[in-house]
């Protein structure tokens, strides 16, 4: 389980490798907040290598979304597999986030 951060132009891309759960959610939160602190405004979280997300992982995404917005930034999500899509629909978080099928589409959406 790890989070890889890279830059695609002005966008900070975070790849979630493995699970996003109670045991590692704070690590993701801190990494994104560190980038936000540095002045980054555009964030994309890519779930193409993600297994599952629990409620605390979803909670961190909600929290980051608010913090990024408060700083005048934007957060996009990409590459949700069928399970993750179902999870976002069950919790109605698909209505809260801007979600793209692919990384490319998400990058173009900024």
């Amino acid at each position: 389980m790890s989070f890889a951060i890279s830059k695609q132009g002005e966008v900070t891309v975070v790849d979630v490798e493995g699970q996003l759960i109670v045991g590692n959610r704070q690590e993701l939160k801190q990494k994104v907040l560190d980038e936000l602190e540095k002045g980054e405004k555009k964030f994309l979280i890519d779930f193409s290598q993600t297994g599952y997300i629990d409620s605390s992982g979803l909670g961190v995404l909600v929290s980051l979304s608010k913090k990024i917005r408060e700083q005048g930034g934007e957060l996009r999500l990409a590459n949700l597999n069928d399970d993750l899509q179902t999870l976002f629909e069950l919790t109605k978080l698909d209505t809260l986030f801007q979600i793209s099928d692919t990384r490319e589409r998400a990058l173009e959406s900024f």
Partner: protein, 139 residues
């Protein structure tokens, strides 16, 4: 009623770092039993992860000397998970805010029990050698 057998019986310390290992074990068992793929990869993984983290964080308060037991029993019609902690338990039927309501969508917490109930066919809580949360998923 057909025969039932124990498919999983583990005990872990009250530390969230052990959750993923148990989830992967449970998912493998689920696949070996030929449950539909999404029931293994989504329903079991997420609902069981919620029950175990709840047991560690709330039930046992992350106390190092307390443990969480996870047991899975396979029946002809279902797989049943018991997650047992050393806490006093909680009221499963208590009114809780709906996390999908527009006014709650941006709340960081409050989705754990909701997900357990939505992803399992039955969720029960009772006392038997500890505080038991029982998750039942029909095949």
């Amino acid at each position: 009623m057909g025969k039932s057998r124990v498919a999983l019986d583990v005990e872990i310390p009250s530390d969230v770092k052990y959750i993923d290992e148990v989830i992967e074990l449970a998912t493998r068992k689920c696949r070996e039993l030929h449950l539909p793929p999404q029931k293994c990869s989504l329903n079991v993984r997420v609902a069981l992860a919620e029950a175990i983290s709840n047991a560690i964080l709330r039930g046992n308060g992350e106390a190092a000397h307390k443990h969480v037991k996870i047991r899975a029993v396979v029946r002809d019609d279902a797989i049943v998970f018991d997650v047992v902690d050393e806490g006093p338990g909680f009221d499963l039927s208590a009114d809780r805010p709906d996390p999908t309501a527009a006014e709650n969508l941006e709340h960081e917490d409050g989705r754990g029990l909701f997900l357990m109930k939505r992803l399992m066919d039955n969720v029960e809580r009772f006392q038997k050698d500890g505080n038991v949360v029982r998750l039942t998923l029909y095949r």
